[in-house]
Symmetry: C2
Subunit: 301 residues, 2 copies
């Protein structure tokens, strides 16, 4: 940044379930600054000015465009699928206590049957389609909650959320399994076997989990194998629940490298050659696209 | 207790995954004192003298008979099923640092296919059969880990462990579901519906869980309904995994009142009229029976 303070043209915010990310963007699209905070669930927007406060202070309020849980239950109303990406219009959300910013929220998506919600994934899809124009198929966004979204002609038709990552984190971090799955290494052969087993007979999931611990205690199975079995059992259960989303579909996976690799490996075992799109700054790409569309349509910048 | 200190004839210890319980027993079987401590997983036996230290101090070491995780991986070797209850012989486990007690551990049970372990349930079954002599059928012991044990002619034939309670606690207490399932009330109609749904199509479990949150956010579903759906979905998944243990079987359920009622309700929905046995002090009853058998056989008291 220059010696004379250059305030951002606008600020992009991606409010996740565990992390909030923000970018200060110049008029020419350059990223001037980036900020990140871990957040407790349901902290709400109170932390927003803490996250981006350093970038505020121009003569006019800085436009802030946010997606994710910042626009959750107390934010913009949900749009019910099917939803054209062009319909993702930011909704103004005044923050009474801070006139330095003009906050707008990208609405999340809702679905009636089965009941479901997105939390920033609609914006990631907009970003993904900016990188992969005209994509028709299924987008898999792995994370603490993995979302599968069916896309056709720039429209999100339906979607499905699985809490696989969240459940894995709880079981690996706190449950009676912790001592035997601690660590980060993962045995891929054990992952493949557990995944196949879980997909072949998803009914046995409840029993399969404790068997991971019992086998480790009885047979001295090493942690990378036990951890892979837990991961394989849970991702297998997810694939069993999401079969219509990947069977015979053109699938793109976009998440963190480790998770993306596991999902691609799992899908490949089922005969699905998923493409990988770099998941980094996908929300930022989506927010930039939504903002550009808004300006083009004559909306206030 | 009398003014002159009456030391215990023996001490019974039930070492669970989250709680340790101990009883000081007189020669005539009277309970002289009772103690309880919450324990962190894998604390091991270091806490044992803290738990029962007040009761020690006679001229000879007090016999202490323990079951559960106190006799876990560092304790008595496991006995591989099938195991006659008469074979549950306490194994001496010297505690070097304290000569006031003589510790013996009831061995846990192990199973090869699928890999599984008990942690005090073998002793509870011994206690249950003291109350229900000659029982042939299946014993369901609900808890953080629920164990289903097949019993025939005073022998434990096979068993199966499900982490249902542990997973329910983690999801209800910490996951993104917490805000919508908080509380203790449970809507029984919602429990029945979720259980039936889960048993009919166990493959959809991964997707069903987040739908509980989405439905609450979208439709204002009250917490007792959401909590019942979570409980029903998980117990349904357990019943799907344990079908051979209850279908057409004579089932006895023995646990805490709330959990026992849920399992009996769930089984009844599947046409199984389970009997209820008071689960209170079942471990103590088992320890007393095992000790009596040992003395009768001429073992050291």
């Amino acid at each position: 940044m220059s010696a004379t303070p250059t305030y951002a043209d606008w600020i992009a915010v991606d409010w996740g379930s565990s992390t909030a990310r923000a970018w200060a963007i110049a008029a020419d699209g350059t990223i001037l600054a980036e900020a990140m905070r871990p957040i407790a669930p349901a902290v709400g927007r109170a932390m927003l000015t803490d996250l981006i406060g350093d970038w505020l202070g121009g003569t006019v309020p800085t436009p802030v465009l946010a997606c994710g849980l910042c626009g959750g239950t107390d934010g913009a109303p949900y749009l019910s699928v099917p939803v054209k990406l062009a319909a993702l219009c930011p909704q103004p959300a005044p923050i009474q206590s801070d006139c330095r910013l003009a906050l707008a929220l990208v609405p999340g998506l809702s679905q009636t049957q089965p009941p479901d919600l997105t939390a920033g994934e609609e914006t990631r899809v907009a970003g993904l389609l900016a990188r992969l124009p005209g994509f028709d198929g299924v987008v898999c966004l792995p994370g603490a909650q993995t979302r599968w979204l069916q896309i056709s002609a720039e429209e999100i038709i339906s979607f499905q959320t699985c809490m696989t990552g969240e459940i894995f984190g709880l079981l690996a971090g706190q449950a009676s399994l912790r001592p035997v799955v601690d660590g980060t290494a993962l045995d891929t052969a054990a992952f493949d076997a557990a995944l196949a087993d879980s997909l072949t007979d998803p009914r046995r999931l409840a029993q399969r989990l404790f068997a991971i611990r019992a086998d480790a205690v009885l047979n001295g199975t090493v942690n990378p194998v036990s951890r892979a079995r837990l991961s394989g059992a849970l991702i297998g259960a997810e694939l069993a629940a999401t079969r219509p989303y990947w069977l015979g579909q053109d699938v793109v996976v976009a998440g963190t490298p480790v998770l993306t690799e596991l999902y691609v490996r799992a899908l490949s075992q089922q005969g699905v050659r998923a493409r990988v799109i770099d998941g980094t700054r996908l929300a930022l790409a989506g927010l930039a696209r939504i903002r550009a569309a808004q300006i083009k349509a004559g909306g206030k910048p």
